[in-house]
Amino acid sequence: MATKVVMEALSPTMEEGRLVEWKKNEGDAVAVGDVLAEVETDKAVMELVARAAGTLIKQSVAAGSTVPVAATVAWIGSAGEAVPGGGTAAGGPAAGVDAAAAQPAAPPAPAAATPPTPQQPAPAAVELPAVPPSAPAGRIKASPLARRIAAETGIDLGGVSGSGPEGRIIKRDLDQLATVGPGEPRPPERAPRQRAEGGAAYADVTLTPMRKTIAKRLVQSIGPIPTFYLTAEADMERASDAREALVARDESGKFSFNDFIILAAATALHQHPWVNAWWMEDKVRQWHEVHIGVAVAVDEGLITPVIRNADQKSLREIAAEVRELAGRARERKLKPEEYTGATFSISNLGMFGIDEFTAVINPPEAAILAIGRIEPKPVVVDGEVRVRRRMRITMSCDHRVVDGATGAAFLKTLVEMLEYPLALVW
């Protein structure tokens, strides 16, 4: 009975690997632990090691090919043995994954991301269906990946029976626990009762690098940063009228309220260096330049492209730049320098119907604005109740840099600029 050798996940985020060089040729004898091939992922080369002994009877992929994780790359068996299912591996049980191996553009196997469905082989390191599991005597045998999954999910490996070589517990055994539970015999191959998402109680989603960065950055923020919040309401009547008039006059002059808020904030920041600042542990850097980070929602996260020197730009320039950067942000085509280096940030959830909210500071920046929606409200003007378009602004401040009065002074300037747009050109 021949054993498959698969492309191993050398990292939970690895989706494919390039088989750089075969270290064993077809027909070579192979011992457990022998280096079969070298695999490159990203800029790292690592060795693919034999998990079974015998003869390398088939190399299923050529050196230089890029192969998704869990795809079959070779077979180990006894000398002269044929690959299961015929002379080539392509007709055998691994046909599906081999086909994937031949098309690097095919979506890679979602290693460690989703519980396996019965139709889909689990991305186990090596499958050895013919070897009967031998009972582990005292010490539990498990692959490093299985140990890590067990540690992360709290599974007791003592209660798991292994299906790897010599009863070694491999990832597949743990994946099955998600649907079977420890101790129970494995169910026969039959279609499970239909439930959303294939019947699993939950789905574990591998963290994308962006998700990890968001988590890291936000924990950095909400943990050690002593944040306080200031809220003000701006009357947007004049700004709304001015915007309507501009748009009516010239369709090409279209801009959003957010573009106007960026310009107003940038102009106000110029007068408030303590708010346009970075906390740098041993010092505060007050920026003379104003670079505004604008939070843009993208699939699976957010990114803040930076409008550089926003205080030096016209409303028209800001509008064009925001549109261009946000478009590329959604396509994930921003260069690092286009989303780093902001001195202050603005997050606007008005278009989502949010009245007001608080935003999380992007360290090392000292403050961030959270903009709510513009909404007609009854307010008292000159002793009379009138309906006016109003907008709530909340600023999160790092108290190590910005004090209450400092923040309030900045907000006052900002609200004045929003309420009297001519102040921006004064």
Partner: protein, 236 residues
């Protein structure tokens, strides 16, 4: 308690000699004769190294012509395409047992990048990653390259940080196989008036510290390779 990291400043040494040293140290790290994780820091004589991912097109000039310009050309086992090392570039070879950290290649690459990004931040250079292009970038230019090899979860090769090299060496190749990439150096980004020696030592100290922090290791400076427990008679 934080585990120690033995840091050895090898000074200026030829590439092939340090490659042998790395390989010996990795064996020692694997069999336990080298008890601690290591970071070798070195400045090489000019050399072009060809990683496993080297494309024909990355070497527009035949190896003999590169040699004629006074550089060595070596084919090696690390990942990645062609690159250059030489005077003014700080090369770091971490020999880490990833089983004590994380058995995760991408984590290793990303942490290596983080160490360099943090180190550069300590020099007031804002650097970052370029998705899909391993290495460290600042203002769209590449300031550090990374290429590693891992055997039984012990690492070899590492990073090359341009402190103040003659960047025209990179014009002879397509660095890392990325067409149109512009290489830069700390000196160029900082535009500082420090002496070469001052900038070199400041970089070395900052990077060592950031490296220790990124990998949760306590750096200890060793004076020489001879201080390492294993190292037998040094080659030459």
């Amino acid at each position: 308690m934080t585990r120690p990291l033995d840091v050895v400043d090898l000074g200026c040494r030829p590439y092939r000699e340090v490659l042998e040293l790395q390989r010996a140290l990795r064996l020692g790290r694997l069999d336990g004769t080298v008890p601690n994780d290591l970071l070798l820091l070195v400045e090489h004589e000019p050399v072009f190294t060809l990683g496993r991912g080297t494309h024909q097109a990355s070497l527009p000039m035949p190896a003999e012509q590169l040699r004629a310009r006074g550089a060595d050309v070596v084919e090696i086992e690390r990942g990645g395409d062609v690159t250059w090392h030489g005077p003014g570039q700080l090369v770091g070879y971490p020999i880490l047992h990833l089983s004590h950290l994380r058995e995760d290649l991408h984590w290793y690459l990303r942490t290596l990048e983080q160490a360099l990004i943090d180190g550069l931040a300590g020099l007031d250079i804002m650097a970052g990653r370029n998705a899909g292009k391993t290495g460290v970038w600042t203002n769209g230019r590449k300031v550090a390259s990374i290429g590693v090899h891992v055997k039984q979860w012990v690492t070899l090769h590492g990073f090359a940080l341009n402190v103040q090299p003659d960047l025209s060496w990179f014009d002879l190749i397509v660095p890392c196989g990325i067409h149109g990439v512009e290489m830069t150096s700390i000196r160029r980004e900082l535009d500082s008036r420090e002496t070469d020696a001052a900038l070199w030592h400041r970089t070395l100290a900052t990077v060592t510290e950031a490296f220790g922090r990124a990998f949760a290791r306590q750096p200890r400076r060793l004076l020489a390779v001879a201080e390492l427990p294993l190292y037998p008679s040094h080659h030459g």
